[in-house]
Symmetry: none
Subunit: 199 residues, 4 copies
DNA sequence: ACCTAAGCGAGACGGTACGTCCCGTCTTCTG
DNA sequence: CAGAAGACGGGACGTACCGTCTCGCTTAGGT
């Protein structure tokens, strides 16, 4: 029995949409909860009933987008799998709101246990998916055995995070290709040595 | 002719130290100028007389840290150079204050042009030093020619930043060795193929 | 034809009791309908179904108390009548809830026409009863004729209210005796001059 | 050494004036601190720096007016002294703000130790002055000896408080005369029996 | 015996005000 | 003059509560 009037889905939606718009317009500091409430046509209390603070609101908005992630397709080749995986990561990082939220999470997770747990959860989920892909590649004989999966994954995804968070540089297809090429050249098995490797 | 009492150097110092500590603890949004003043044992006016805004204060504090870096020593070997460079980076990231500030910058630089510019400047400076090291290695015949230095540098430093900012994992010597090994195995020339590669 | 489930008398009672208690504790401004609902173990809607506003609720609660008063007994002597009347008033003022509500009413009636009307009604009712007692005393020849009943009544009851509301002093039997003695000494006729007058 | 910028007397004044105006317009419930701030041309923080709550603000405004009380003059006769004293009390009670505050104090003093102390202080001060007047009357032979001063004072002032707080009736000169006449008739010595007594 | 109108608990909702915090500016006094 | 102390205007924050509403369940009374 879930007594009481249920939360309005329309409000849920309006709040997240408004939060995204306001955040995109002014950033965390430049936005105000009052403005979000006004834009959503919603009372401030209705927002605070859902999210205990402004940061939680923005994080929730980001999660709403990031949550729409589907399992990575199995393209059949190591290079294909990795390229798709990194392109998806790039898409996430490039999103004006999601990307910013990922940055914020790295900071806020330091001081907030709840956020830290959430953050860790996201990261673990994503890394598990990537780890599985590498496992499949080993089974297919495309990847050498005995490699340290943790370090290997770092070498794949770290450059994208680095560009996103430290360099603030856009990540194009060529960059992803270069990272994948390097990875395959280092850890791949014979047939993978192909045209793009020398690039 | 600058008549009147000169500004106190002790205040300069106290303000920057306090600003650093407060910034590390709470980021740009989480810190307050009042708290900095209190921690420094200084009046708020004394801060605003020096820095026109909170952001300027943080920028100045960051400059104070970054200014203390010495040029990397030339150990004579590629592996040695890279190991020293990454160990220094690790030291920086591990520093309770500096490390936190680096994380904060990734967020605050997004919405603040002034901080972004300063941040970019620091990064460029560091990368130029690393680029020079790689150049020396090419000249010594330890590194293949024709590699994309930008991507190569990313592969070296990105894992450390990734561990620091995303995974929040401490970075030990073994990890640095693994990253350097991978790099040398991929880009190095013959003699570098040695014992630790399979690790 | 009033189909449907009838209103619960238990709720009626619980609401009024809770409202009284909350009102006594914090007055009109200091009480909240939510608190009343919680204390009564009742839903807010159940309250608003009965009373259109917080003020109406408080008014109803006050009526519930005032309705319980019985006519003063006729003791046969002026002194007896007055002593009983004042002792009853003392009992009312001393009641932890009723007394507090009387205090609250004096404040809230100032800014709320509805409460003011209700308050006035109560007072008039009580004063009418007292006026009748004085009338009987005149007829019995215990009280001088031609006195201003309004002022006379004030002299009798005002000291008790004053102690209750201004001085916050408990009212003992001796105080009531003193007030009655003074009144009888001033307005009474010969036979009333007795032992206690000089006290 | 009272370091720092002193509080602005202009603000003090503007705040109290605005508070009085707003209070007169809408009462305690109908006024808002924001409105007071706007009317005073002052920041809300400037108000809260002085008064911890809205009620304290109104009380302070009342005190500002009531505080201007001078010692009662010695008219030379008992009747004159008492009449002046009650007229002054009437003036205080009749003031739209001061009168309301006196009512509120009876409630708030119940739950707030600080206010209770303040209230007691005021009352004691006033009663001491009145007690001194009665003492002078005894010395002059206008008042009987051996009377209970506390009860006597109650009989004098209680009717005014009663009319103010319970009856909400305006107090005219005739009422004051009646109260004084009654008091003098009851406690006075022979020569005081005069023209106005039968009124 | 069922059906139906209403009561009821729970709690979401829009709105309004509260009291707090902090920024960047200012004013005053002391060294 | 620098510096400390701190008041000031402005504006956002997060909370509390009013009176309304929307759920799903319960409960009598009328057919």
């Amino acid at each position: 029995m879930v007594a009481g009037r249920p939360r309005s889905a329309a409000c849920d939606r309006a709040i997240l949409d408004a939060a995204l718009a306001e955040y995109a317009a002014g950033g965390l500091e430049g936005m105000s909860v009052d403005a979000v409430a006004a834009r959503a046509g919603v009372s401030k209390a209705t927002i605070y009933r859902r999210y205990p603070s402004k940061v939680d609101l923005v994080v929730a908005a980001a999660v709403a987008i990031a949550g729409e992630h589907e399992p990575h397709p199995d393209t059949g080749t190591l290079r294909g799998d990795l390229t798709v995986a990194l392109q998806r990561l790039r898409t996430l990082l490039s999103h004006p709101v999601v990307g910013a939220c990922i940055r914020m999470l790295t900071v806020d997770a330091q001081h907030n246990a709840q956020l830290a747990a959430r953050h860790r959860e996201f990261v673990h989920e994503r890394r598990a998916a990537l780890r599985a892909q590498l496992g499949r590649a080993v089974e297919r004989g495309e990847l050498r055995t005995g490699i340290d999966a943790e370090v290997a994954m770092d070498l794949l995804v770290a450059p994208l995070f680095y560009r996103h968070m430290v360099l603030h540089t856009p990540i194009d297809d060529a960059y992803i290709d270069a990272v994948v090429d390097d990875f395959v050249a280092r850890y791949g098995i014979a047939p993978a040595v192909g045209a793009r490797t020398e690039r």
